[in-house]
């Protein structure tokens, strides 16, 4: 280039020659540059790349862990839901059964009570009826005795008398 021509007053190395000192110097330069480039380019960049890799790995691991946790929570929740539903069903079933049984009991008890009341009423009625019949029997007996005594005016045999009355009442009773 032109500046080379302009600097002819200083000494120049030959164009193609081997200078041992320059070889040594360039070898040292190459080694030094190798060291510098390793130290200032490769080492820091590789460190940061490794760090990023580690961070990405960690993030993925964390995400996987979170997903596993979420899955387990979900399955647990589903399990719980299933159990709760089963429980609710069983509670409902039990309640229904219990209600049925209770209503049955109540009905049965009511029936039994009604029957008992009816029976008692019938008994009472029968008792009252007998009482009434007996009263009427006594009345009629005494009335008949009076009437008969007055009609025939004589004392009939007591035994015959009672027998007659009984027959009479019996006849009435059957007819009534």
């Amino acid at each position: 280039m032109h500046f080379i021509a302009l600097l002819t007053e200083t000494a120049n190395q030959d164009l193609i020659t081997i200078v041992p000192w320059t070889l040594i110097a360039q070898l040292c330069n190459l080694g030094l540059q190798l060291f510098l480039i390793k130290k200032f380019l490769f080492k820091p960049v590789r460190e940061i790349l490794a760090k990023r890799q580690a961070k990405a790995d960690e993030d993925i691991r964390a995400a996987e862990a979170a997903k596993a946790e979420a899955d387990s929570i979900k399955s647990e929740y589903e399990q719980n839901m299933l159990e709760a539903r089963e429980k609710a069903e069983s509670i409902l079933d039990n309640a229904q059964k219990m209600a049925n049984a209770q209503s049955d009991d109540i009905i049965k008890a009511a029936n039994a009570q009604a029957t008992a009341i009816k029976n008692k009423a019938e008994q009472d009625i029968a008792l009252e009826k007998r009482k009434a019949v007996n009263e009427i029997k006594d009345e009629i007996g005494s009335m008949a005795m009076e009437i008969a005594g007055k009609v025939i005016e004589r004392e009939i045999n007591e035994a015959d008398h009672a027998k007659l009355i009984d027959e009479f009442i019996e006849n009435i009773g059957e007819k009534s």
Partner: protein
């Protein structure tokens, strides 16, 4: 107007001399290499300061892209077991590309000095040899020179040595050719400019003929190919050859 293509300036020469090595000469190559290294290192520090795990800046994204590109380049081509090569390949690539392109700022390109490429190629050659010895053992490595027949041994040695030499000269030649062609075009355009405007008579012609009007524009366009394209291409080719030779060496034996 002379177009003078020479090697790098010698900025300083030590008064002392060592046997064999001679006196140490601080050339432009070495000085500009330090500037290149300062640029690369400064860029690395700027790119990787304040790195974050999340919500990264464009600057950090670019730094990560550089590292990932280097990873992909080496691992994608020759596999995971050569991951240790990534920083070296990245270093050679960045040194090469910045050295090639720094000539755009009008300074001496360290890669226009053969010594730079020889050094890189020698490092690659050492790695190739280590891989071969690792793969086949030292005996296997020596024996591989006598394959397929012992007569070929000299040629095998030549071919082994030609690997780093061809790598170094390929890179060097391409960058130097850019320097040479740009110099020639620049010089010839200045000459053409002064000749063309010298045709204008009078003082106007005298002034205009001394201003290199034609040298504006065209060299910039041509430098897109000779500096930019060649510079990026040669850095890439050097790195591809580096990883290919080393991976081939490991699979041999």
């Amino acid at each position: 107007m002379n177009v003078d293509i020479t090697g790098p300036k010698i900025l300083y020469e030590t008064p002392w001399e060592l046997p064999v090595l001679g006196s140490f000469k601080l050339t432009e190559t070495i000085l500009i290499s330090w500037i290149v290294m300062a640029i690369i290192t400064g860029l690395c520090i700027w790119l990787t300061h304040d790195l974050k795990v999340e919500k990264i800046s464009k600057r950090q994204a670019f730094a990560e892209m550089l590292v990932e590109t280097a990873d992909k380049f080496v691992i994608g081509n020759i596999g995971e077991k050569f991951a240790w090569l990534i920083p070296l390949v990245a270093t050679i690539f960045s040194l090469s590309i910045v050295s090639n392109l720094i000539s755009l700022f009008g300074v001496w390109s360290p890669t226009a000095d053969l010594n730079t490429e020889i050094t890189w190629a020698a490092v690659v050659f050492v790695l190739i040899t280590i891989q071969k010895i690792k793969a086949g053992g030292f005996g296997g490595y020596l024996k591989s020179f006598t394959q397929p027949i012992p007569v070929l041994t000299p040629f095998n040695i030549l071919s082994e040595l030609s690997t780093p030499i061809s790598m170094a000269f390929r890179h060097f030649g391409n960058i130097l050719s850019g320097v040479v062609i740009n110099g020639l075009i620049y010089g010839s355009l200045i000459l053409a400019s002064s000749a063309l405007f010298g045709l204008i008579p009078g003082a106007v012609g005298n002034i205009l003929s001394n201003v290199p009007i034609l040298a504006v524009g065209l060299p910039a366009v041509l430098s897109v190919y000779f500096d930019w394209f060649t510079g990026v291409m040669q850095a890439y080719i050097f790195c591809v050859l580096t990883i290919m030779y080393i991976s081939n060496a490991a699979s041999e034996g």
